[in-house]
Amino acid sequence: MAIRIEKTFQVQQPAGVVWIFLSDPRKVVTCVPGARITEQVDENNYKGSISVKVGPSVTDYNGEVRIVRSDPKNYEIEILGKGLDVRGRGSASMKMSGKLRALDEGRTEVTSVSELTVVGVLAQMGARVITEVSSVMFGEFTKNLEKRLAARADSPGSATDEAPKALNAGSLAWEAAKGIFRRES
């Protein structure tokens, strides 16, 4: 199951600030529902985990995150994430390319292209569920990112990385279901 997700959104922060945040997996992960970084291996390699719950099915992935390419001049980054379900029920990998564009009034446009490959029990739910779930997760991510960046601007001192919030699985499944319904109705 391979899914391509393209998203463009704006944040009320200058590109430089956004870049510092987005180019650091330890920071980014705080915006990803259910995800955490457990270890930094070296400058570009990290270990982490993510928990995804779709309806009754919980999948915990353990894996690695690698910064494949980072171009601070052009604000471009390419990140590769690979994870194995801890109970051996499948795997997932994601290749994400991100690009920032400075807009006027100190705003920044974030463009990302993600290619997600899911293998195993979760993938049996089919593209329509996985796409919706990914889309909902991405929405949460964007919201969290904006919140984090705003918090950073308000009081830079308080921007220590708080523990990732557990994903609201119930609402996730519900949002996904609504998404399917919207599309087909």
């Binding site: 109970r87 051996g88 795997s91 195993g120 993938a123 049996q124 089919g126 593209a127």
Partner: protein, 785 residues
């Protein structure tokens, strides 16, 4: 062969008596395998592979074993020590019981957990830690023999994904006919991977008794005797110590013919633990790992003259068998009875090639409500005939009429080696066209097209080949495909009938009783039919491929006639006359010319135990093992009328007329029920069902969320009719029927849809015909934007 109708009280052939089994089914009092509860019984649960192709690095059962209530965990390595990690399939291949080395399809069996209750077993299965290393996945059968394709079966000597090449027919004569033919029509059609999805999934209770050394297996089995023998041959258990009991079965459709790893694991667990072990599949396990059907990628070419008279048929097929060739079909036929693909038409020449390949998908393919690949064959020829008709601008009914095998040509030898027993194809076509009002519908279609509305009429004039044996041609794993019946008449004139077949909803308890009623005049209500217990029933090959009536039905009639022969001797003794002076009429022997001097079958039965003539054995019973001289060839014509919504691409089946000819009918109501069921399944295949895989080998049709089952809401109204052309070689002129509607209908649905769109230039749409596909076809042709 005309069958004299008995009184309704006797309830012989042709009476629509109510099904005896239904009184328990409609009360919810059937006894299915999951209803079997034995003292001390424990439960098994399967750990399955999430990957379609991966190396198995380790299976760690430590954590799972520590869960309270867990009794045993069996892995592939454990089975390998006992030489049981692999088992033979029904078709010259072997299949992993539990994986060793690597896994070859998603949901493949990896470990078997046994616990005190099914919840603990399921929880423990989650705790089994399996380490995999993902390998490149092969999903597309067309890529199976590509140089860069991963080799899936490294256990085989032959390092290739190619399983077999099979060809039949006269290649050079066919080529020659094609060279000189002025008209050629061709089609590429996929008979997609689908699944029988019986209401009841597969399962078993294995009960090994250490005190008696006896193994009893309660099993969802369409072929209990064959399974007993296979358990004996593969497991090394003496066959007299194995008893297979098939209780009530909630639908089989071919899905319950193979032996599955879960059965073997439950048996091994019971042998190990000495207690009964129950294993019942979940719905997803059933859809994802047990015998799928079809997955034939076919090309047919027809050579014809300008008038549309066919000259030759050439067929090339790629068969996707998944990870193991677990096809359930007679051993001489790697592609089953696919070579009946010349259908109802008088082809002078034909040549067929089939190549089977492995892919990273669940193993199969079984005969889903069809006599071994006949659905594929019929679908192909009936689509191809429509393509030819469309190309020549000849009405599709007329083109069929021009090419039908004529009644006087029977027995008819096809260019691919079959001998059809009897048929009147034009008779069935005429009746169906009349019932549906064909010419009026064509006029309506013309008018609708002028208004831009989409309406189509599809015809399928199919011929089925059912009822295997004969034994000289057909065997399953070496066991000849005869079948059996044993009838015992009790002193009070009532009877019990035991069979080698096994009903899964076909109504055997009623229909076999009606055969006895017809032959002996004992009311059907006085005859009990028992099937499925190998300790009591005579040996038989089971129920699939519409073979019960052609084989065990015949055996029942022959056994009844043996009883009648003995009854005549007793009647002569009782009436103090010679046998030659006696005549038979339903239920009694009487002295010729003196009808009042008579003895009923009941009086004779009593005498068989109380007043036996000197020199005659006591009792009144007989057994018959019937080896049919040929298959039977039921046929029919189906006409489907559809309307298509241009805006949504939704196809609405407005009418569906099914005219079937299965020779003499035992119970018209049961036949009609069979037709309704098969048409509904055919409808689902045509419009709804596909076991799909994504590029990583993830199953995309592995639950009822994605694999759709038609409900009363979707199911069209069926209009049924019949003609009667008895089989000349069957003891009472019957042919099988249960599968005809599934075999014949998909082509009628697809032909109707393509007919509705043909004026737009649409030549074919592969099944399942979803609104999305139709809408895209309309978009492509510029009808919608």
């Amino acid at each position: 062969m005309i069958i004299e109708k008995t009184s309704p009280e006797v309830g012989g052939m042709g009476h629509s008596i109510k099904r005896k089994e239904d009184s328990r089914f409609i009360q919810g009092k059937g006894n299915y395998v999951d209803d079997v509860r034995l003292p001390g019984m424990v439960y098994g649960y399967m750990v399955r592979s999430p990957y379609a192709h991966a190396r198995l690095k380790s299976v760690n059962t430590e954590k799972a074993r520590q869960l309270p209530g867990v009794l045993a965990i069996i892995t592939g390595e454990d089975l390998a020590k006992a030489g049981l990690a692999w088992m033979p399939t029904l078709f010259f291949d072997k299949q992993m019981v539990l994986a060793t080395g690597k896994v070859l399809f998603q949901s493949q069996e990896v470990a078997f957990v046994v616990a005190e209750d099914q919840y603990t077993a399921a929880d423990a299965a989650e705790l089994v830690e399996v380490e995999y290393e993902e390998l490149p996945v092969l999903v597309d059968p067309h890529r199976a023999t590509a140089p860069d394709a991963p080799i899936l079966r490294d256990d085989r000597d032959e390092k290739s994904n190619h399983i077999f090449h099979w060809e039949v027919g006269d290649k050079s004569a066919t080529e020659k006919a094609f060279q000189s033919a002025p008209v050629k029509a061709s089609i590429h059609a996929i008979s997609q991977r689908c699944h029988p999805a019986p209401l009841e999934t597969c399962g078993c209770v294995a009960d090994f008794n250490k005190a008696t050394d006896k193994l009893t297996v309660y099993l969802t089995s369409q072929a209990p005797h064959a399974h007993r023998t296979l358990f004996a041959l593969v497991g090394g258990i003496p066959e007299q110590n194995i008893r297979v009991v098939s209780p009530d079965i909630g639908g089989g459709f071919g899905n319950k013919v193979p032996i599955y790893p879960g059965y073997v694991c439950a048996v091994v667990a019971s042998l190990t633990l000495g207690v009964p072990v129950k294993w019942i599949e979940t719905r997803s396990e059933n859809l994802q790992s047990t015998g799928f059907a079809r997955d034939y990628h076919m090309t047919a070419e027809i050579a014809a003259d300008q008038s549309g008279k066919v000259k030759a048929l050439r067929v090339k097929t790629l068969a996707d068998h998944g990870a193991f060739n677990a096809a359930a079909q007679p051993t001489k036929f790697p592609a089953g009875l696919f070579s009946v693909c010349t259908g109802s038409y008088d082809f002078p020449n034909a040549f067929v090639e089939v190549d089977g390949v492995y892919t990273n998908k669940a193993p199969g393919g079984i005969a889903y409500r069809c006599s071994f690949r006949i659905t594929e064959a019929v679908y192909l020829i009936e689509r191809a005939m429509d393509v030819l008709a469309s190309q020549l601008k000849v009405d599709s009914a007329e083109l069929r009429r021009r090419n039908f095998i004529q009644p006087k040509q029977f027995p008819y030898k096809t260019p691919l080696g079959w001998t059809y027993d009897s048929g009147n194809y034009e008779g069935a076509l005429d009746k169906a066209l009349e019932m549906v009002g064909y010419s009026q519908l064509r006029k309506e279609q013309e008018e609708k097209r002028k208004k831009g509305e989409l309406m189509g009429i599809g015809i399928s004039s199919f011929t089925e080949a059912v009822g295997a044996g004969p034994a000289h041609t057909f065997d399953i794993a070496g066991i000849k495909m005869f079948d059996s019946a044993e009838i015992r008449i009790h002193p009070t004139g009532k009877a019990i009938c035991r069979m080698g077949t096994k009903s899964q909803g076909q109504g055997h308890e009623t229909t076999y009783a009606q055969i006895v009623a017809q032959e002996l005049g004992i009311p059907a209500s006085d005859v009990v039919v028992e099937e499925g217990d190998t300790d009591t029933a005579p040996y038989g090959l089971g129920t699939y491929a519409s073979r019960s009536t052609p084989t065990s039905g015949a055996a029942t009639a022959i056994a009844a006639r043996k009883i009648r022969d003995k009854a005549k001797k007793i009647a002569a003794h009782l009436l103090e006359c010679s046998e030659a002076d006696l005549d038979w009429e339903t239920g009694k022997f009487f002295v010729k010319g003196a009808p009042s001097k008579a003895k009923t079958i009941q009086e004779i039965a009593f005498a068989a135990y109380t007043n036996i003539p000197a020199g005659l054995e006591a009792g009144l019973e007989a057994v018959d093992y019937y080896d049919p001289p040929n298959l039977t060839f039921p046929f029919g014509t189906y006409v489907c009328v559809v309307d298509i919504d241009k805006g949504t691409g939704e196809v609405k089946v407005r009418r569906f007329v099914a005219v079937d000819d299965c020779g003499n009918v035992i119970n018209p109501m049961i036949v009609e029920g069979q037709i309704h069921g098969g048409l509904t399944e055919g409808f689902a295949i045509a419009f709804m069902q596909l076991i799909d895989y994504d590029e990583n080998g993830n199953v995309q049709g592995g639950s009822f969320m994605d694999y759709l089952i038609p409900t009363a809401v979707e199911t069209p109204h069926w209009e049924t009719g019949s003609t009667c052309t008895p089989s000349p070689h069957h003891p009472f002129g019957a042919k099988g029927v249960g599968e005809s509607p599934n075999v014949g209908s998909p082509a009628a649905f697809v032909n109707a849809v393509v007919d509705a769109l043909s004026h737009l230039g649409v030549k074919h749409i592969d099944m399942p015909i979803t609104p999305w596909k139709v809408w895209n076809a309309l978009k492509e042709k510029g009808v919608v934007s």
